[in-house]
Subunit: 135 residues, 6 copies
């Protein structure tokens, strides 16, 4: 009897998409306005999904208040009101696309959560662009 | 050629999370403010998903108007403007967490719908806390 | 050059609509399912609007972080995960309709905010029912 | 390391549900008000999901700007501000239910996208009625 | 102590914008794709605002359930799943722009509601296009 | 018979709040995490409101397609995927608070629109923080 629980949190950050091994021309060609050297930014929404069996005594798969705190401590406190390229270690050598941000968030949370629970990350860059990992 | 159809309905209800076999202290420790003895409440949103093959003559997997009526008759008419702990038989001995409410809704609907259709329930307790069953 | 700033916060609460001076029959007739004796509940959203001139040095009419804290300290901490009828002094003798809740919130905030700023409250009981005070 | 990317687009269209092989009475019985001879309409939202491995050089599974253009060129430019029954070839002999529209959109996009990427379509007819294909 | 109450309802309808006194060319020039002869359509959302003093005995400016029924009886039952141009008397000689639909809705409701209450209509044609009357 | 029309557009931008005449300490004290030297960012939503009389021949107060183009040409093309502090002339000496951004947008649009129409700007920095000018 497996149930999934989802918790949504948010952070606001600046970023820029580019590949340091490419010329400026190639970066502009590939990333367009997302390659603005002065950065741009988003209101990111994260949804964390955990799947498992509800506990007999609590009726919880995972306490939502604890899940909220876990995401805040490990992800949003780190990313909120930051520049992903300049301020976040994980993106020093990794392009902060929505895809890569979702993978980084997964890696930040995976070992904080019991292995019996499946973990999935949804990241909304805008209301119209979002990603899911693992898919 | 399987297609899934989703229908969203809502109900407003009061509830309280606690385990009658535990002390007040333990209930407060585990459920925190969700254990307020005078209850609190939510605008719940239910999404019911049915998966099957569209009918050749109608183009419907299931008529959405009929699905809406089915959910209203079996679920929302029963739960809307009620106290889940006090007024609903199913929660007399079951903690009304989002996880357990989703399982109860599944059980209320499963035998009302043809077995050839897969059934899944999504329950939103708030915009930021939601669950899925079966997962 | 007057600008208005808006800050949205939320709380989840149980309530029941009834008039203690009326018979049960009249209460049922007037308030219908909102008069369920075991209560029901909502995810309330509050929007607080302050109107004034932006400060020359900060560009702020009012610091949104401070406005958020002010609403949390004076309103949502008090109402969240509570039963408005049973747990909140202001509704001991006042029916907790959306209209009355908005007036109570206004009164809780008015003397915490400089008189040079106009104050208005929007209260969403559901996505489809909401009120504004003063109007 | 598979990641899914989602892009949402929209179009506004008129349609009518009916089966030309049935009598008017049977059409009314089955499709109700959706069979209004003068049509009715919706603000449709499409979500296109592509699943694959992020490219090492770009960090993209698929460039969202290109995905947006692909959907606009092949789907929304064709359907937007149109009458699905009267103006769109694909629905000349196919009832434009949400289920069938999703299948048609899948078929319009499938051969425009590399086979290594899985494709899924979500179509929202209203906020409360939506479908997914393949499911 | 005036308070405003708002109630949101919806209807789905087809329409076409054009002026019968103009040539096809001029209609195309002015109304563009909104002048598609086969019509297009929308999920319209109506918000009705009533402003007055809360009743001492009920705490209501106006009972939201009654307001919902009033809008359904006089507006949405009439417009829902219809073609505004073909099926609705009021638009036989009036272009069904969002502006004109809002004025028509106001006129349908004004004499059903006590004159002591101010009435205002908000009409959402899409999430991004909406109107207010009187303004 | 005055009607208001509203059009919503969006842009994504980076910004930082600080006052160059203050010390770093004072900037941190006043602007907190909004003063991150590497910037942060938002998905901004602009709503432009125009109030006037509907034209007899078109039924329009203002053509929404033209209003959309006007906002895109004068505001969002300029601000989208930019750093407000570094890339936008108007904020070289003006702190890009939501209040100030709304005033700048008003000034960019006012002389592009007939004086007979009242203009108002709503700017959403997040779903929970927004402003209105003039108020």
């Amino acid at each position: 009897m497996r149930v999934a629980v989802y918790r949504k949190e948010h952070f606001n950050a600046a970023h820029r998409l580019y590949n340091p091994e490419w010329s400026d021309e190639k970066n502009d060609l590939v990333f367009g306005k997302c390659n603005n050297p002065g950065f741009h930014g988003h209101n990111y929404e994260i949804v964390v999904k955990l799947t498992g069996e509800p506990d007999k005594d609590t009726g919880y798969v995972f306490d939502m208040k604890k899940l909220s705190e876990l995401i805040r401590e490990n992800v949003t406190r780190k990313f909120d009101h930051k520049n992903l390229n300049l301020d976040i270690e994980e993106f020093k050598n990794l392009n902060p696309t929505a895809e890569n941000i979702a993978v980084v968030i997964y890696d930040l949370l995976r070992d904080k959560i019991d292995n019996g629970l499946d973990l999935k990350i949804y990241l909304y860059e805008t209301e119209r662009n979002f990603v899911e990992y693992p898919a």
